[in-house]
């Protein structure tokens, strides 16, 4: 954890006071609804379908057990005793009362938490690789750079009223686990020829209504220039990004309309004035931030041999346990994707138990992943079996990381006022259909992502299978894409006309059958087959098999 100093704490406290005053003025009728909207969104507060929704920031997904206990406490006292981990590594409460939100924020501030800039047209929570600091292929600890950027972006006076929201991801390892190509800005750490650290700067990626893969606008930005270069990009965007049409306001549209070359030139022209200025990052600051991060007191351990184990512990070891840079340690994914539980949801009791387990097994810290799971980053290999037993008792040991049932899913029409369709029941249908663990493991790695509308909170465009809820004449239908991938980024292709909810699980089954028939070996993943064989054979099999179904005839009528 980055531990606040007195200034970090003071700013968060002052934010609570500011929002308390804004809420009071709104409730007294002194602040118009529209103006208050802009202000409350900057504190993560939406007004949703049934109640307000509060999105609490978990900067780069890193949490202490103390903070998780506070989240449990807040969920219990101010909400209905559960929370939802989002794909932006934040926690959402779905039932807070508007008038109580300042109190909730004050509670959060006591454990160095807040909801600053978790919504609104400003720089949002910075996301990162969930294995930062422990990955074997690490180049830099991305958390340090995320914290630097968090502070730069917090209440940035010039960039608080951007044309649209702005999402930055930082990846510090060789493999890109932070989806840097589908963010407004993606930063991918690299080492230069002399071993110096820099960042590949990727701009203009994003999901949503107009999905786009980002463009590299600078192959190697030496680290001291990180903030001045970000200032330059944001300034070009703030001044010239479109404000006439909300659907064309993201930076990806500006980059597309300008062309990458022209956009790069404009950024460079701006940067020429800012480069080497006061915002140039110093070695001292990087050391200061590093020094404020708590670090595990690792022991010298030897690797533990777990070969020859019996299922189901073995299944969990294979899917949910990841290598660690140090011998004798492992990182563990805690799946929040048990069948029958909305993906990413967690009860207050589970949060408290997980906090205890984090204290016992992983130095009191945990991470939230963009796949809506949790990670214990520093578990002694010798204690894996004990941890597994504990997690199993909590229903949090589903061995499905990387598999079809590890579904990324937005809250959808059950909660969200933007949604065209429900997403949680679709996830559940699919999980039920694929409940045979052996079959699931045989299918192998498969990312299945569901969004309830084209805002794409469920990242459907980069799912190997992506499902998008659409509205047709007031009815819920589901469009299916295949071939998307997070890294290297590729966007899925729609297979054809959409389906009724009752047919979705059947369609997924047809897709999987097609894949299993086409794959040349177990190591050729679903997405590899789509990229090799194209969409056509999948499409053919799906629609040929669906023609006789009553729901499909209805679809033809509705279309």
């Amino acid at each position: 954890m980055y531990l606040y100093d007195d200034i970090d704490q003071r700013l968060v406290d002052e934010r609570v006071a500011q929002f308390r005053d804004q809420t009071r003025r709104f409730l007294e009728g002194k602040l118009a609804e529209d103006d208050f909207r802009a202000l409350r969104l900057r504190n993560g507060l939406y007004v949703q379908r049934y109640a307000p929704m509060l999105r609490i920031a978990i900067p780069y997904g890193l949490l202490s057990s103390k903070q998780l206990r506070k989240l449990a406490d807040v969920a219990r006292r101010y909400d209905r005793g559960y929370g939802h981990f989002s794909t932006r590594q934040n926690l959402q409460l779905n039932w807070p009362k508007l008038a109580e939100v300042p109190e909730i924020l004050a509670e959060l501030a006591t454990v160095q938490m807040h909801a600053i800039q978790t919504s609104g047209n400003c720089v949002r929570n910075i996301t990162a690789d969930q294995f930062a600091g422990v990955a074997r292929d690490e180049i830099v600890d991305s958390f340090v750079w995320c914290e630097l950027i968090r502070q730069w972006s917090t209440f940035h006076p010039e960039f608080n009223y951007l044309p649209r929201k702005f999402k930055i991801a930082v990846n510090g390892a060789v493999a890109d686990r932070a989806a840097t190509y589908v963010h407004d800005i993606g930063l991918h750490a690299l080492k230069g020829p002399e071993g110096e650290i820099g960042f590949r700067v990727i701009v203009g990626g994003g999901l949503g209504r107009t999905p786009a893969v980002g463009h590299v606008i600078r192959e190697f930005l030496p680290w001291p220039h990180l903030l001045t270069y970000l200032d330059a990009i944001l300034r070009v965007y703030n001044r010239f990004g479109r404000r006439d049409n909300i659907h064309k306001a993201r930076i990806k549209i500006l980059v597309k309309e300008r062309g990458v070359e022209k956009f790069r030139e404009e950024v460079d022209a701006e940067w020429a004035h800012l480069k080497d200025g006061p915002a140039t990052v110093t070695e001292t600051e990087i050391r200061r931030i590093e020094g404020r991060f708590t670090r595990p007191a690792y022991e010298k351990l030897a690797d533990v041999d777990y070969t020859g184990l019996k299922t189901p512990f073995n299944a969990w070891m294979r899917r949910n346990v990841h290598p660690h840079k140090l011998p004798g340690y492992a990182a563990v994914s805690i799946s929040l994707k048990k069948t029958g539980v909305p993906p990413g949801d967690m009860t207050a009791e589970q949060m408290e138990r997980i906090a205890e387990l984090a204290d016992h097994y992983s130095f009191g810290e945990l991470r939230v992943t963009h796949e809506q799971n949790l990670v214990f980053a520093d578990v002694r290999q010798a204690e894996l079996h004990g941890l597994w037993l504990e997690l199993r008792g909590l229903g949090l040991a589903t061995p499905n990381i990387g598999l079809l049932t590890n579904i990324i899913c937005c809250p959808g029409g059950d909660f969200c006022s933007l949604a065209n369709a429900k997403s949680i029941p679709v996830a559940e249908d699919i999980q039920r259909r694929f409940d045979d663990l052996d079959y699931l493991h045989d299918i192998g790695e498969l990312d299945l992502n569901i969004s309830g509308c084209m805002n794409a909170c469920g990242h459907h465009h980069v799912g190997h299978i992506g499902i998008l809820g659409v509205d047709k004449n007031g009815e819920e239908w589901y469009q299916i894409e295949i071939g998307g991938n997070q890294s290297p980024a590729s966007l899925g292709k729609v297979i054809g006309p959409s389906f009724a909810r009752a047919d979705v699980a059947n369609v997924i089954e047809r897709l999987i059958e097609t894949y299993l028939a086409l794959r040349d070996s177990e190591s050729e993943r679903f997405v590899d087959v789509v990229h090799r064989a194209g969409v056509e054979p999948f499409k053919k099999n799906v629609y040929a098999n669906l023609d006789q179904k009553p729901a499909n005839r209805q679809r033809a009528l509705a279309a």
């Binding site: 200034i7 002194k30 047209n121 006076p157 001044r239 990052v281 110093t282 200061r288």
Partner: protein
């Protein structure tokens, strides 16, 4: 009449008839040569959430070295004031209906900022180093 705040004081004076107003889409470079001769420049905020004027203010102050009065006009509300001041505005023509007296408190909402700003040209991280 909308109220003017200058240097954290409420002042009663009409806008000068020849006030030069920068719109969000104006080409700063084209107007730059005139900037030095002006005593007051206004920057218009056409909407509550239109943030282009913040960049224009910083450019006028930092790139074009404008030293005169920089006035935010248009949809200028209490909750904008501190950020605007940090970007270099020193006068604010509040929109109709704003409580000017109450708005004065907004300049002190935050006692520090991470970034360099008009009042503090050195970002916090460079000052923290000496602590």
């Amino acid at each position: 009449m909308p109220t003017l705040i200058r240097n954290r004081q409420i002042v009663n004076e009409p806008s000068p008839p020849d006030l030069v107003v920068f719109e969000p889409t104006d080409d700063l470079a084209a107007k730059a040569e005139r900037i030095g001769a002006l005593g007051v420049i206004a920057v218009n905020f056409p909407k509550y959430g239109d943030g282009r004027g913040y960049s224009i203010a910083r450019l006028l102050r930092e790139r074009y070295d404008y030293k005169g009065e920089l006035r935010a006009v248009g949809v200028v509300a209490r909750d904008h004031l501190q950020l605007m001041a940090q970007c270099g505005f020193d006068s604010f023509l509040l929109r109709e209906g704003e409580d000017a007296q109450a708005a004065l408190a907004a300049f002190d909402d935050f006692s520090e900022s991470y970034q360099a700003n008009a009042a503090q040209p050195v970002p916090l991280f460079r000052r923290r180093a000496g602590r």
